[in-house]
Symmetry: C2
Subunit: 505 residues, 2 copies
């Protein structure tokens, strides 16, 4: 534990603890609503969550917070710790963002996004983009105005990015994503035109839910997920949630006709959970006890899902175990055929169902449209057309409906502009971290084959987890890999893997 | 829904909603801690719950609350509803109680009781009353001082009773409990000296946990517990908890070598839950959406546990169903033998394991000691001796240790003086309500035999549940049964039942 040097520091830490308590209560309400809370209680639950969020907002933007920020950040001398100063700096960022939006504007926006989520749902159901368009137009307007309130250099989208991936800019993303896009398109074409496609029929036999759960628990244990500081529950839309490093919960979804949903979903959320379980203790109770960014968080889930969970050696270890839970399903299916099946790649319409190879293209096309919406060079009404054109250009598929195209995701309906790039950045970070890890752990393949995943997790803890939000994404990646963000590792990995799997060159 | 007549009323209702939101968040934290929250997160959880409780305390005792109470209670005219006025009156009681204790005294007391719970646990473990005595002495002193702060008529214990059973007094309790004690002692002697004791060996076969759960769910369904507004979970110390009428959760405990724990525990907690699920909608979000008192709450759980769950007709309906879950356990055991076994009565040491017949004596002996501690006529150091003397006098058993005697319960360690009487009052109310119900529902036995428990639950909803905390216990009982609290119904019920079961006169 950190020694708290002064009365000021102690008082500030108490204030941070209060903020953390509200955040933990909100997280628990959220977890409960999304796992097993009684259906009929959901209306009142929304009120309770709303009240708690409002109270937290009030505390974060209070005069008391301002007073602490002023005192801690202005403090000269050594009797306030570096951690407290950093926590103050992070809280200051939130304070500034929250207080720069005029109250009536924020309220109007909150009402709008609450409504627009329902409208989006109906519009998707009815495949009616025009129904959603007026709401989306207003949300885009608000986002543009918020960017002006917050301020930015060179491009308004940069102001929005700051919420999800601090330090990331349109200039950097344009360069990175262009490279990824150009690298991926020929690979996707290679896979599409290959005549060496895997057999996948055997994936879809009935795999009982309780057996899937048992296997999921086995895999989480191998990953060194700490069950004394967590638990596994069922949900419709899987997520991991950390109340504090000693209480980090994983949820998963069981599809009895496709065991991959639960298995890879659990590994993915388990990756998020390992991050939160291993944030340094000295950050506990401060705003720094959190992930560094959306992209860094996603790098952890994707690392475990793809670089461990889809690794051939992982299944040398686990294929037999899987078969003990579904003895008949894999009769006559060799390990190699199994491995090829679970690594199948093919262009598809829905982002969340996309495979490892095509996923980034789904993200990039959204990024391009988001950026243009925010800069004003694309109108909401043109979205469906542009969406479909890009889908054809990047993935070679055309959505048969807007429900399966531009309306598929809820993010825009709650105003999350600037969020999507993190998903692709996570892939890029994950591959780059894997390449750096290989230098320190040349026996990576052996460790995975033995199921000895602890050294792998420890490498991540040493280089990423422990720092929580006390370092920026840029610092973390630079320190861990020796260079700035570099998409070459991802492209190289995917190129080797898929040329081999689909035998093209 | 109530129409809110005025700006004042609307603002006051919002304030009550805020209070309710905190209470619901605290309830969820509590439910989670006691069901499946990760072990390692418990320290931080205590901080979070503590913060939320402190914040709620601040709101309830705030100038804002005072302002609303003054405005609503002082309001003349019809544009503030009766419900709001009543809610204000109830909140005023809490406000007065909370603000009458000087802040430093309350803080000292909070620290003391937090510590003393741990000391009590160690003392019980070590069977060392002297270790706990100094803490208990201080807690008694505080309780006496609180009684002075709060004010009372005739006896300081009356001030403490007000927290749990408003309107109840030492004068009434002395008369009621003397009657119960004198009525029960000969019945207990009759049972003890009877040579017609039931066989009970077959109760203790292994009954798998998942089968107990399945049966518990069946029984809750029969009771008309609404699973869309609730759920059943496992815990160490069973409880029911209502966040709001649309989210009321039951917990139970499974002992594989004694299925009665889960079955009767679930029915008991289910009784509490039915109460909370059926509180009138117009009270939702106000302080009145709660049980009327501890005793009234307990009357509901005990009514379902004993007057329904231990009724011979209940098992005519359910014995076969029970056997489908444990086919071998009851081979050759007739329904009558089964019924006698689950209604076994014998004096025992531990209150929470006591049967229907002897339970009230456990409560009465505590009440007598509590009252004397508070009035100053009994010293803490004499408790073990007096405890054992009374156990021998009332139940004919002498605790072999203080751990199994005076140290058995945690209540005193957290200062809950005035709480115990509610447990016995619950029995008395339950029997009295049952007698009144028989007049309206002469077909009670038939309904139970058919498993048609809805009319029974509806009678309770009509007479008790719907009113929540908008009526006092005294009003509820008077209105529902036509008379004041009367222990004769309980004595008559127990006398008939146990003379028949144990064949004495």
């Amino acid at each position: 534990m950190t020694t708290l040097n002064s009365d000021l520091e102690q008082a500030f830490r108490s204030h941070l603890k209060k903020i953390s308590s509200y955040e933990q209560a909100i997280s628990l309400l959220n977890w409960d609503s999304r796992t097993g809370a009684p259906k009929k209680g959901m209306d009142e639950r929304a009120d309770v969550s709303g009240t708690m969020a409002t109270e937290l907002f009030k505390i974060k933007t209070s005069d008391e917070t301002a007073k602490y920020l002023h005192a801690v950040l202005g403090h000269q001398g050594t009797d306030v710790s570096a951690t407290s100063k950093q926590a103050a700096a992070e809280l200051k960022k939130e304070y500034d963002r929250m207080t720069k939006i005029p109250e009536d504007e924020f309220q109007e926006y909150s009402i709008l996004t609450a409504k627009s989520e329902n409208v989006w749902e109906e519009a998707k159901e009815a495949d009616d983009f025009a129904m959603f368009a007026p709401y989306l137009e207003k949300i885009v307007d608000f986002s543009r105005r918020f960017a002006e309130h917050w301020g930015y250099e060179s491009h308004p989208y940069n102001a929005l990015l700051e919420d999800y991936e601090p330090g990331m800019t349109v200039e950097k993303l344009d360069a990175i994503f262009a490279k990824v896009r150009e690298g991926l398109i020929p690979l996707v074409e290679g896979v599409t035109s290959s005549d060496k496609k895997p057999e996948t029929d055997f994936l879809f036999s009935t795999f009982p839910k309780d057996k899937q759960r048992a296997f999921s628990l086995d895999v989480l244990k191998q990953m060194t997920y700490d069950f004394e500081a967590g638990r596994l529950d069922e949900t419709v839309h899987p997520f991991a949630i950390g109340l504090n490093p000693n209480d980090v919960r994983v949820t998963t979804k069981y599809d009895e006709s496709d065991f991959r949903t639960a298995v890879f979903g659990t590994i993915h959320e388990g990756g998020h959970a390992l991050y939160e379980q291993n944030i340094g203790e000295e950050l506990a109770g401060t705003i720094l006890s959190d992930g560094a960014s959306m992209g860094i968080h996603e790098s952890q889930s994707l690392f475990w899902e793809n670089f461990v969970g889809r690794h051939p050696k992982f299944w040398e270890k686990n294929y037999e175990l899987l078969q003990t839970y579904a003895p008949d399903q894999f009769t006559g299916v060799s390990l190699h055929d199994f491995y090829r099946a679970i690594n199948e790649a093919k262009p598809s319409l829905i982002r969340i169902e996309a495979d490892e190879l095509t996923y980034c293209l789904h993200i990039i096309l959204r990024y391009e449209m988001e950026k243009q919406l925010i800069e004003g060079s694309l109108k909401v009404k043109d979205l469906p057309r542009v969406w479909n054109e890009k889908m054809q250009e990047y993935l070679g598929v055309i959505p048969p409906s807007n429900a399966k195209g531009v309306l598929q995701d809820v993010h825009w309906a709650f105003g999350a502009f600037g969020y999507f790039p993190s998903y692709a950045l996570g892939y890029i970070y994950a591959a780059q971290l894997k390449a750096a890890m290989d230098k320190d752990l040349p026996a990576f393949d052996e460790l995975v084959e033995k199921g000895d995943l602890k050294p792998i997790r420890e490498w991540m803890t040493k280089n990423i987890h422990q720092y929580g939000r006390s370092r920026t994404p840029i610092e973390l990646i630079k320190e861990a890999t020796g260079e700035d963000i570099n998409p070459d590792y991802l492209l190289q990995y995917l190129s080797e893997k898929y040329k081999d799997l689909y035998q093209f060159s």
